[in-house]
Amino acid sequence: MASPQDRVFTTSPAQLASSAGPRKHRRRIDPKIWWAYAFISPVLIFLLVFSVVPIFFSFWVSLHSWNLITPIPEMPFVGVDNYTRILLYDDVFRRALVNTFVFAFWGVTFNLVLGLAGALLLNSRIRWRPLWSTFFFLPIVTAPLALGMMWTALLNKNFGLVNALLGSIGIPPQPFLSSPEQALGCIIFMAIYQYVGYYVVVFLAGLQGIPQDYYDAAAVDGANARQSFWYVTLPLLRPVMLFLVVTNTIGALQVFDLVFAATTGGAETSGGGPANSTMVVVLHMYNTAFKFFRMGRASAMAMVLFVVIFVITLVQLWLLRHRE
């Protein structure tokens, strides 16, 4: 396959290399800003209609007591009652917040490291590359239901394969998902398992974007493999890493499906067990809205979570930008 840009504009590799410094910020106002507005308008219009307006509605609901059934104009206004209720008198919500943080922190950290390692491995000179990357990707396409079922069976205290393996090296059987102490760890492990493929694929795409010339230049300067990793690969992957950290933290703080699949035996169970040890914010929110008919309180939780995620995202953007 020929490089696509050669067909459109003739650019020599030398020119490419000379553009070192991956980004050059221009400070003057671009005269073509109208193009930019036109380019972003589809996204803005759709998000306005299908996200921003509904989010404002949700905020409005959070100041009311709404059971989802009462006609919207008739729902009683309760001020900040929903907020005081969840922040002061809801043990489960507090527990869920802590669990969610623990889950997001460890899940994202491990996945970042393992995902990069996987991508580097797949990007090195190996045979049957498409085959390996397909395997890495399989857990992503697998239904959470199948994964939840598989792991509950594998991690079963009495007859699970994992305990059989542990037993063979002399470790006593562990209760795993049925223990309040170990369940959250198991969920984090499952998250790593299911999502590491995403990181690998995104890192791979990022690695493809690093021109070989940079490595050549580093080699000419006498850099060894480790040095070119630290001084070429990592810095140039920063935009990709920023993207992965930010979006996955946002996603992990809203984890729902995975916990639901792993901790509910069927449609009737509420999940988050044993004894709330795997209860996460969005699961508690879901139960509050669609089991307890308390949409106002669930919306208040959503707003609190929103603020938390927003602040964390800003900090991440700032941290990762600051280091450049």
Partner: protein, 288 residues
């Protein structure tokens, strides 16, 4: 090209045989673990009801129950569901790729007033769980007359904040000099987008394409609410009819058979899109 990479491989094998072996050991062991759920789905899809509700279920069915697959095909109108899912997923993913690359490009390469504010709003839209805004979104879609037709299934999903962010990050890495060169050649801004940015974003677009496909293909709650007519059922909705009331676990074998049938397209698309992931590697091979 194959010859070249092949030669490169032989060379590396001669110089670093140990590292090479280590690599394959890592690849094989990770792949085995990653294949587990897939193996599990297939095994479970071939079990009898008695086998699947055993705790723990056996690792292999005593005798593969191929008729489970026939049962699925008979029980639900899977052909129609596939057609609907293909139409909905293809159009949604195309929409996401188009809108995301367009605005990702704008956010990466232009400076305009309110840029950071607008970008923050886009990011912020990802921070609310969907079911919290489900009711207003449903109301809006109903007002637009999109209930119970393809429009309601497709249009609310053609924009992805995640996609905008992803492509912004990748397009930032494309050197500005390329754009300037194109402008000197007299290209319009849209032409730059279409003939320069899109081809150069190949790996990112392929990645986003696969991710969005997996999401749209498996999406369940939204189609369930939007669709009343079973002729519009997508694959997850059709498969949902396989559940047995009050005893979910009893139909798991059939549901797993359905799941196997439903993940095949995602895997195929992933394998097919891999040629885009390899683009950079091909270039490397030529230059090296």
């Amino acid at each position: 090209m194959k010859g070249l990479t092949g030669m490169a491989m032989r060379r590396s094998r001669l110089t670093q045989p140990f590292i090479s072996i280590l690599k394959y050991v890592a690849l094989v062991s990770v792949s085995c673990v990653m294949l587990l759920p897939f193996y599990w789905m297939i095994a479970a899809s071939l079990m009898t009801t008695a086998e699947i509700i055993r705790t723990p279920p056996p690792l292999l069915p005593a005798e593969p129950q191929w008729r489970n697959y026939l049962d699925v095909v008979y029980a639900v109108n899977i052909g129609r569901a596939y057609l609907n899912s293909i139409i909905v997923s293809a159009l949604t993913v195309l929409g996401i790729l188009f809108t995301s690359s367009l605005s990702g490009f704008a956010f990466a390469k232009y400076h305009f007033p309110l840029k950071n504010v607008l970008f923050t709003i886009i990011l912020a839209s990802m921070m609310i769980p969907f079911f919290v805004i489900l009711i207003p979104v449903f109301y809006i879609v109903k007002q637009l007359g999109w209930l119970n037709n393809y429009a309601g299934l497709i249009l609310p999903g053609v924009v992805s904040a995640y996609g905008v962010f992803m492509l912004r990050q990748f397009i930032q890495g494309i050197p500005d000099e390329l754009l300037d060169a194109a402008r000197i050649d007299g290209a319009s801004e849209f032409r730059i987008y279409w003939q320069l940015i899109v081809p150069l974003s190949g790996p990112a677009l392929a990645t986003l394409g696969v991710f969005s496909l997996v999401g749209v293909w498996n999406s369940f709650l939204w189609p369930l609410l939007v669709v009343q007519d079973s002729a519009l059922h997508t694959v997850p909705l059709a498969l949902n009819n396989l559940r047995t009331y009050g005893a979910e676990e009893r139909s798991l074998n059939l549901r797993m058979a359905g799941t196997v049938l439903s993940v095949i397209p995602s895997v195929v698309v992933f394998v097919w899109l891999q040629r885009f992931f390899r683009r950079g590697i091909a270039l490397t091979g030529l230059k090296g």
